[in-house]
Amino acid sequence: MTNSPARLTRADVEHVAKLARLALSEAEIDEFTEQLAGILEHAASVNALDTADVPPTSHPVPLFNVLRADVVRPSADRDEVLANAPESRDDRFVVPRILGEAP
């Protein structure tokens, strides 16, 4: 039987927001700390169950490695896909700089 983890802190919320790429405001961090701590405490009731020899179920259907033949088939229309891009150039998606200093 596992012990319940410690109560969620503000620092945890800031860290998770960074992992989840969410630029939360200070007010949102406060609000979420309280709400999430409450939800997690409730959800941690699952720790009361004895699951020592119980395997996890990740998926209800026993299907594995569903593959198809390695054959080229028509895919999405490139123009249609690029039409949705916030910014594109020469058949590529344009994004802000990823590494190092701006050019």
């Binding site: 012990n3 969410l22 959800a43 699952v46 169950l49 209800p60 569903v66 891009a85 916030p86 994004v95």
Partner: protein
Amino acid sequence: MKAVDIASDVRAGRVKARDVLEQHLSVIAERETDVHAFNLVMHDAARASADAVDAQVAAGEDPGPLAGVPIALKDNMCTRRVPTTCSSRILEGWRPPYDATVVTRLYEAGAVVVGKTNLDEFAMGSSTENSAFGATRNPLDLKRVPGGSSGGSAAAVAAGFAPLALGSDTGGSIRQPAALCGVVGMKPTYGTVSRYGLVAFASSLDQIGPFATDVRDAATLLDTIWGHDAYDSTSIPSGYPSLLGDLDGGVRGLRVGIVEELTDVEGIDAEVRAAVQRAADALVAAGATVDRVSVPSTMYGLDAYYLIAPAEASSNLARYDGVRYGMRGAGDDITTMNANTRNDGFGPEVKRRIMLGTYALSAGYYDAYYGQAQRVRTLIVRDFARAYEQFDVLLSPTSPTIAFEFGAKTTDPLSMYLSDVCTIPTNLAGHCAISVPYGVDSVHGMPIGVQVLGRELADALIFRVARALETSAS
């Protein structure tokens, strides 16, 4: 108008698909301002579809089993070149480059897609109050919610905007709004309806299913859209029962179990509980045997779900990053841009669940939260299997309460989550379940839904039991 009758009349040339459509568009014009079931009414596309169906009939061709039937689609199903928003700002204006498999199958069956319906953002919610484009109102009482997350689809059918609608159900999002709006709503066995083109929320739980005004129409709709799909690697290859073959077969000799942990608990309205008992009595009168059954782990279903579903959602929603489609926020570097896009584009409930899920999966907590929840899921599957050794189908409330008023549950997220306590276990087990309208409450006259649960691939059986209940209720 029943879908089955419309299709039969259109195929026989007795009625024009275009006339059927125009009648429904008039109803929409009259009430949609009040109800707000739709994010988008597809007037032109629907008229073109209806005209095409009429042309086929005139040429002696058969348009298909849903010929000329108007249908509304939850706005988390991809319709090629037609805006699909998931009721989120982050996808406002996005036009999918492909159709969902269910959409393709509907077109091939001659159905006329009339519009995209409102939902809780990214299907996260139980009231449709979490839509970024305004709430949908319960057509039976505009001060009350239609339920969620498929509130728009449920309301569209209840208001007579279309005889059929599709929704998606991850923790009850078809069944609960069906109960609150007084229509039939069904979640098929996991893996029987293709998820290709359904915007993913929780991939091991999501399933598309039908809304209709009666059981026969709902079964007919499911029959059209379900079946193996090579584009969905979680699609069950075979073993599908015939849905329409024995719909009126009755319940003589069937063993029905009322699930104690979902019925005899605090938080379930007395009148809702009474409706379940009346339904049980009706089944006995029709020749079934009824008993109470304990499925103990279902008590932990809600808690396991609120660890599993957000965890899967946090992964599925990582793709909304402002790079390839959808909204893009400010930022001179990629990380800032991603973070602003997501913070500006997502509503509070979506952010809450992404945060919850990310935390439950993060290093140091994975096993205590997500891992443990997955083991509880196994216990639920086992408890159901044990129950199905002694019973053919199970019975419970669908929603603990009738439709609540706007704002009643928005201050405390947990109170909203409790709306799904009866529906969640079915999603965790991958089983099927259907909500059937069964009376109204004595104070407000609002509908009450009763839930029939079945094991995996028992879809035809639960439709049969639902049909028996429907017959007894009239």
